[in-house]
């Protein structure tokens, strides 16, 4: 095998010497992969890939747990970081030899930076952190990854796990606030905000503060699904209704009056008016339910024809659903009032 065969492969160091030519590996017989008689989805493995995995199979078959085996797993993972068996075996070696976990933490960080969307290495990281029972580096690591891609799902999942398991909530809102300032459309950051608040407690003061916080962000960018969803998320933590805060109602109606027609505002208004119409209590805050029901249908129609045409069929469907519920509630209301009228003479007796 000539040196030229190796130089084209960039995954390993340029001075890479095949395991089959290394003196310290001379005692090991490499084991070829048996791909069966009629392999499907055959991979044209490079010579290097074959060499490394031939020795990995040899080590695994003997279950040799040694420092050289640990080094070998590094090469195997560099060629395929998604091989969960290699990761598992690497952990088994570390465990058996009782190796320094700090080194392993640094190694996993290097691999994560190179493969930030690889499930296996994030899992490995988590196991090492659990073994060390020390998550002091996790926030910094995930911040480094999120700096490159602020919506990396793996990084967020690891971060949430570390925060929840090791109670690292203290400064998280500050971090989330920074990400939202960088990009008000970062849905991952808004989700993280809900996550933090849910654990630290949605007190009435927090609810009020968050309502103001998100309304300010909506003022800046009105057409943003993330902020509107967050607003709904906060309201769910209160009494659940969309009109529980008069300032929110006022805010939305003012936006509408000023000509804003983003689908997120419109759907908020549609849902809020629908709620008011169908609510069984008589309280409609000075709104006339009949008027409101017309508004719901009118807004749905506007969505279908003008402001959210791609969801035309959906808004017609929403209007249809509302109409049947509205009719039913009207009938119930009529029935109730007739019953009450009939009962009155009896109760007088």
């Amino acid at each position: 095998m000539s040196a030229g065969d190796w130089s084209s492969d960039e995954d390993l160091a340029p001075d890479y010497v095949p395991y089959s030519e290394r003196r310290e590996w001379a005692d090991v017989t490499p084991l070829e992969q048996d791909d069966g008689q009629f392999p499907v989805v055959l991979i044209a493995y490079s010579e290097k890939f074959k060499d490394v995995y031939n020795y990995f199979r040899a080590i695994l078959s003997k279950e040799e747990k040694s420092l050289r085996a640990l080094e070998l797993t590094k090469d195997a993972l560099r060629l395929n970081a998604a091989n969960y068996t290699v990761w598992q075996y690497r952990r088994d070696i570390i465990h058996a030899l009782n190796l320094d976990l700090e080194n392993e933490l640094n190694y996993s960080e290097d691999v994560i930076i190179d493969n930030p969307k690889n499930y296996q290495v994030w899992h490995h990281r988590r196991v090492i952190v659990e073994w060390m029972n020390d998550a002091s580096k996790e926030l910094k690591l995930t911040e480094a990854v999120l700096m490159l891609d602020a919506k990396n799902y793996h990084a967020w999942q690891h971060r949430q796990w570390a925060i929840k398991t090791y109670n690292l909530f203290d400064d998280e809102l500050v971090y989330v606030d920074r990400l939202i300032s960088d990009d008000v459309r970062n849905n991952s950051a808004w989700n993280q905000r809900i996550f933090v608040l849910k654990h630290t407690g949605f007190t009435p003061e927090v609810l009020q503060r968050e309502i103001n916080y998100v309304m300010n962000r909506i003022r800046l960018v009105k057409n943003n699904e993330s902020t509107w969803n967050f607003l709904r998320g906060v309201l769910q933590e209160g009494d659940g209704t969309l009109d529980q805060y008069p300032e929110v109602v006022e805010f939305c109606e003012e936006l509408y009056a000023s000509g804003v027609r983003t689908p997120f505002l419109m759907s908020f208004l549609i849902d809020m008016y629908e709620e008011k119409c169908l609510r069984s209590d008589c309280d409609s805050d000075g709104y006339d339910k009949e008027d409101l029901s017309k508004k719901v249908l009118e807004y749905c129609k506007l969505m279908a024809t003008d402001y959210d045409k791609i969801r035309e069929k959906y808004w017609n469907y929403v209007a249809g659903n509302f109409k049947s519920q509205w009719t039913k509630s009207q009938q119930n209301a009529n029935k109730k009032s007739t019953e009450n009228a009939e009962q009155e003479p009896l109760s007088a007796v």
Binding site: V41, A81, T85, W87, Y153, I194, K198, K313
Partner: protein, 362 residues
């Protein structure tokens, strides 16, 4: 060269594209070495959607079936419950004895088991060589106390993806064993987010792929009724709002062809797919079609891969593209294959009844 949205579907090109992947992958795809079965799944099921399985000779089909079975792990009665399928032959060694260390690390993996069985079903195998008992025990063995599932008995993360794989496997082999459907449903409910998408795990961000996993799993376990009508309507809202022209997987993320499947299939399960805009969806997917070498990419201008090619075709099937077979949305196999599978289930049930009668006589 990329296609125009107005282009026709280049069926033959895509079929040939899949056939190539069934044969040989270049070295640069070695990072897929542990998951070769999933690539075979995209290729075989992709050919099925294209109604082009006859491009594979009966002999080739048999070879693929044998190859999949060669990855089945049947554990010993006393050892860990590792039943299921592995995704590749990476750990296979000629003439290794049972004590060889490589055997101790061969564990069924839920995603490989799911896609492996789906390939067998799609190719019309009679499934007689499946060790259904070992498989269902393997599935139950990786369920966590929180109701979720890991991929393997050791060394794996646990999340919504494997919840789906577990239910799809059990639904296909028609065995649920000790799988706890109640905690499974509870896990899904606990991962329903404030915006009414479902996350990969508890309080993570709502995601199109995991919302599919969750809703399909509830459907397959016959537990959609844990969600109220109001909740279902809100989930539909989150789903239809994913449409931009194609679909995205999270609010404020770019569209990607695979979500024409994930979002489309979820809406199909909820009987609300017709609320989406078909022509915009089609235009986007077709704009990623490679009309020279075949295949679809995730974005307009990005290179094709089997994953996005398969899901693009499924997405097009949902909007009734001519020349494509129908998809069974919750199992992610063709309706044709699904109907065949139902016949297989009937036969198994008859066998079971027969066994019970025999037991009664004893």
């Amino acid at each position: 060269m990329m296609g125009n949205p107005q282009d026709e579907l280049h069926k033959e090109k895509h079929a040939k594209y899949f056939v190539r992947f069934l044969k040989l992958l270049p070295a640069r795809l070695s990072s897929h070495d542990s998951t070769r079965v999933t690539i075979a799944f995209f290729a075989v099921c992709g050919l099925d959607v294209l109604e082009s399985l006859d491009l594979l000779s009966d002999e080739t089909k048999k070879e693929i079936i044998d190859w999949v079975y060669s990855y089945q792990i049947v554990p010993s009665e006393t050892g860990p419950k590792t039943g299921g399928f592995v995704g590749s032959s990476t750990l296979n060694i000629t003439n290794s004895d049972a004590n060889c260390g490589t055997h101790r690390y061969k564990w069924g993996h839920l995603a490989m088991t799911y896609t492996g069985i789906a390939i067998l079903v799609t190719l019309g195998d009679d499934l007689s060589r499946l060790n259904r008992k070992a498989i269902v025990e393997g599935v139950a063995a990786v369920q966590r106390p929180d109701g979720s599932f890991s991929a393997t008995v050791e060394g794996s993360e646990h999340d919504m993806r494997f919840v789906y794989c577990a239910t799809a496997i059990c639904a296909m082999i028609d065995e649920w064993g000790d799988v706890n459907k109640e905690t499974l449903a509870q896990y899904i409910r606990n991962s329903l987010r404030y915006d009414y998408g479902v996350s990969q795990h508890f309080e993570m961000e709502s995601h199109g792929g995991t919302t599919y996993c969750a809703i399909a799993a509830l459907f397959l376990t016959d537990q959609l009724s844990i969600l109220t009508t109001k909740e279902i309507e809100k989930i539909k809202r989150w789903l239809v709002f994913r449409q931009v022209d194609g679909f995205n997987g999270r609010p404020n993320k770019p569209v990607d062809t695979c979500y024409s499947f994930w979002i489309g299939a979820t809406l199909k399960i909820l009987d609300a797919f017709e609320l989406t805009n078909y022509s915009e969806n089609r235009s986007y997917v077709m704009s990623t079609q490679n009309i020279v070498v075949g295949g679809f990419g995730k974005w307009t201008g990005s290179s094709a891969d089997p994953f996005h090619t398969y899901f693009s075709l499924c997405g097009l099937s949902f909007i009734n593209e001519r020349g494509l077979g129908k998809i069974m949305p919750s199992l992610n196999i063709s309706m044709r294959a699904y109907n065949q599978l139902k016949e297989r289930h009937k036969a198994w049930q008859l066998e079971n009844n027969f066994d019970e009668v025999r037991l009664d006589i004893d």
